[in-house]
Symmetry: C2
Subunit: 207 residues, 2 copies
């Protein structure tokens, strides 16, 4: 797996979005198409994907996507009332985590992988604001596979931003984004191909 350089494709130039209470940077084509495709194929085949069940309004429902929670052993993670222990690093993901850390000059030590089989799979409005992630967490989101819409909405102001997350793109969400904005991956019925999304995070080790 090799990183695409800016000289390969002008799309690798960073796009900056400074919004009230949030700072986003998007690198389209951060991984080139071949590397993205190979990585997606390998991770879909080699990881133990789970369609988790969560409780919503007293009902147990399956989430509309498959997940793997991965990272350092201390990085347990609570989501919709369920605590998940991390699966150990897959070597390709660990290498990728280091590359994302280098590219963003930020530390990451765990990752939530979400597999959206097609445009029916989705994620509703939420923020990555779990207490484990600390104040103003940095989230680095790598997209592999089908292009999908990614929506953000401010919690109190009536503003929305709609991005297109293409194959190989890296999106860094910074500032108070998780505190003041929510994001979602809406259904897109015409999308037939899968998208694999890796959101790298940092959880402080317990002393």
């Amino acid at each position: 797996m090799t990183r695409q350089t800016q000289s390969d494709n002008r799309k690798a130039v960073a796009q900056h979005f400074l919004l009230p209470d949030a700072a986003l940077t998007l690198w389209p084509g951060w991984l080139n198409a071949d590397a993205s495709h190979a990585l997606q194929t390998r991770l879909i085949a080699e990881l133990a994907w789970r369609q988790e069940q969560i409780r919503i309004y007293g009902k147990t429902v399956k989430i509309p996507r498959q997940q793997v929670w991965m990272g350092e052993s201390h990085c347990s993670y609570q989501y919709s009332g369920v605590r998940f222990e991390p699966t150990p690093w897959h070597p390709a993901v660990q290498q990728l985590c280091q590359q994302v850390s280098d590219a963003t000059t930020s530390a990451f030590n765990c990752v939530l992988l979400n597999l959206y089989a097609n445009g029916q799979d989705h994620m509703g409005w939420h923020a990555d604001d779990e207490p484990e992630l600390g104040m103003a967490p940095l989230i680095a989101s790598l997209s592999l596979g089908a292009s999908r819409r990614f929506d953000l909405r401010h919690r109190t102001l009536s503003h929305r931003l709609q991005l297109q997350l293409d194959n190989g793109s890296l999106l860094l969400m910074a500032g108070a984004c998780q505190q003041h904005w929510q994001h979602s991956l809406p259904k897109q019925r015409r999308v037939a191909a899968p998208r694999l999304n890796l959101t790298f995070r940092y959880i402080t080790p317990v002393c």
Copy 2:
């Protein structure tokens, strides 16, 4: 008509949106509610509103809103193949133009006033990129009356921004916004009240 100060309402604090190829600043409550309402009522009553006809695909159609083009005498303006000569300044609009110039530290000498009677009135995707406005024109947009959605989309990248333009808000569009982005005011069937929008511009006098 008095300007609202920041101490009146924290909403008067500027909100900045720095996007690829565009810089927007929004001052919600730049005019307070009373001043906005009084100004809207006066301008609706006192201006000679026209529902212009334009040619689209060979057909002559009425635009879905009413307009007045106003400003310095040299500021003629071509729009969808029709040239409009400016109506002389209404004193309240001229005073407002000076206040907008002061607030944005930018010169303006003409204004397109659009009256949207209700949520059926709208404006399609376009940019304020007429040659008269020069390179990278500054557009200052004051909203009076009903809150309406204001959408922006990048011409080549697949990004969109959706703002809510409330009564009394001032939006400054700067940078290469008119070159690289389009904007629209979509229909909103549930909106029953009118919105009056003043977009201040600058046209260089001919020597």
